[in-house]
Amino acid sequence: MRFMYLVTHPGPPGNPTPALMEAMHKLAEREIKAGRMLDNGGLMPVQTGAQVRIKDGKLSVIDGPFVEAKEVVGGYAIFELRDKEEAVAMAREFMQLHLDHMPGWEGTCELRAFAGP
């Protein structure tokens, strides 16, 4: 099964500590070599993007920052894993790195299975 991981955090992200960067890099390298990680990427702050919305039957383009945004997507990854349990185990390992290497950081790693056969 293919899974999308979305890492969200409240407000501006703050730069990851070098220790966290290194730990995440190692994890990513291991997972690429293990043939499980298909793709990943970090996202620039919301100011670099925009939102295209439909509301009340009207389409509008809104430039950031978005005051009402409580959660910001900071990055994503796509994994090919056997089942949800494996996907959760992977997310736990990834989030544990944050707990170990970036004290005080709070956020969420949401994982979702891709629609498909």
Partner: protein, 426 residues
């Protein structure tokens, strides 16, 4: 959580860790089959203690510590037998004392060990079935029971294959070696064969069957990706990966809601997986950059790429496909490839030209029980409006088909041909 939920969660945590566990242990022990056993032991230990203690915060570190402790026990036991092991044991003990933080194991570069693991599991000395079972167990972390279910054989059969294969490896002194140079490319061929066999076993499985069968495609793809990261200079590695990614990209479109197969020309191409196609084409591009244009897997991937690039069935470049099959037959004298060429020529130059090739294969002993020969003839005869002969061909094909869904499909084709025959003016 119920007991089986806990077991499932433990198995999942172990699987995430499995590649690192087995590669670290095989480096410690200089013995791949033994490393595999201890990796399994660590799973058993987790299954015993985690339901009581709960899953540890860092399951990987726990498993690694447990497995390494057992490996050290093993080495101590063998100490009198092998001085080499003694040295290794002492080094490792010192290393562990200096670095009690087992997280440091994250630093282990698994590349070289993984290569060794794959070559050991796929050793040409072993039977093909044994290689497949060992590869799935050692590289993908599948249990004996899962392998049995995936291949529709009994647990005991798989267990026996694995035990026998490990014994063969130990007795031949092949439990820890990495081929280099010319031997490497030779041995890679044996690895590719195993990987593609696993892929095809999953690919021919119908939807609705035990999910473990289609899952075999993912396992094969995973080994393919591992190969590109540990043997990045070999064009055929990319060829094989491209071939599998491009074939797998059609999975969602290959069967209808009830699981009946849909021919490629009738598939809804919007259901083809674009991410996977992109990855496949990228791998193919890499194979070409590495000078692999004429390679066995690269050529096959090239053929599938012709389909992947066509936005509609009518846009398919059949001339190119026929040319690629000719190139393939020049390399490998295989009646199955020749049959595929018949299909491509039938599309590129007309059904009569294709049928001529297919008919020439009728006496071929290797194809005597191969249902696709009659199925292809049926298609070509149908196109030529020789409906009665098409019906007979589809019926022969149906009688030979091993899979129920395929058999049903061919019988429907036979009925279509019969209908068409009855409507022909006499």
């Amino acid at each position: 959580m119920t007991a089986s939920d806990v077991d499932h969660a433990i198995l999942a945590a172990w699987r995430i860790e499995q590649p690192r566990l087995i590669t670290s242990l095989s480096r410690m022990l200089r013995d791949v089959p033994l490393a595999e056993e201890l990796t399994q032991d660590a799973l058993v230990a987790a299954l015993e203690s985690w339901p009581v203690t709960g899953i540890p915060e860092k399951p990987g570190a726990w498993l690694m510590a447990t497995a390494k402790r057992r490996a050290l026990d093993q080495l101590r036991r063998f100490r009198m037998l092998a001085r080499k092991h003694e040295l290794v044991a002492r080094e490792l003990e010192a290393e562990q004392q200096a670095m009690p933080d087992l997280d440091a194991a994250l630093d282990d570069d698994i590349g070289d060990e993984m290569l060794r693991l794959i070559f050991t599991a796929c050793h040409p000395l072993l039977s093909r079935e044994a290689r497949v079972a060992l590869a799935l167990r050692m590289i993908c972390g599948l249990t004996t029971e899962e392998i049995a279910r995936a291949f529709l054989v009994s647990d005991a059969t798989v267990a026996q294959r694995i035990v026998r294969a490990k014994r063969t490896l130990s007795e031949s002194g092949l439990s820890y070696e990495t081929p280099r140079g010319e031997e490497l490319s030779e041995r890679l061929a044996a690895v590719f064969e195993v990987v593609y066999l696993i892929f095809n076993e999953g690919y021919t499985a119908a939807r609705g069957e035990d999910w473990l069968r289609p899952q075999l495609c993912q396992e094969a793809l995973r080994i393919g990706r591992i190969l590109t990261s540990i043997a990045p200079g070999e064009p055929e590695v990319y060829g094989l990966l491209a071939l599998m990614e491009l074939n797998a990209s059609r999975t969602a479109a290959r069967t209808d809601a009830s699981g009946e197969p849909i021919l490629m020309r009738d598939q809804n191409r919007a259901l083809w997986d674009l991410l996977q196609i992109r990855r496949g084409l990228q791998a193919l591009g890499r194979a070409h950059e590495l000078g692999g244009a004429g390679g066995f897997y690269v050529l096959q991937a090239e053929i599938v790429a012709c389909h992947a690039r066509a936005r509609t069935a009518a846009e398919t470049d059949w001339k190119q496909i026929a040319a690629l099959y000719s190139e393939l037959t020049r390399q490998v004298n295989s009646p199955v490839i020749e049959l595929n060429r018949a299909v491509a020529v039938g599309m590129a130059e007309g059904a009569a030209a294709g049928l001529e090739i297919a008919d020439r294969l009728m006496g071929e002993p290797a194809l005597k029980t191969y249902h696709l020969l009659e199925s292809v003839r049926g298609d070509l005869l149908y196109t030529l409006r020789r409906f009665a002969e098409a019906k007979a061909a589809f019926e022969s094909a149906a009688a030979l088909a091993g899979n129920k869904r395929e058999r049903d499909f061919l019988q429907r084709r036979a009925a279509e041909a019969a209908n068409a025959a009855s409507e022909l003016p006499h």
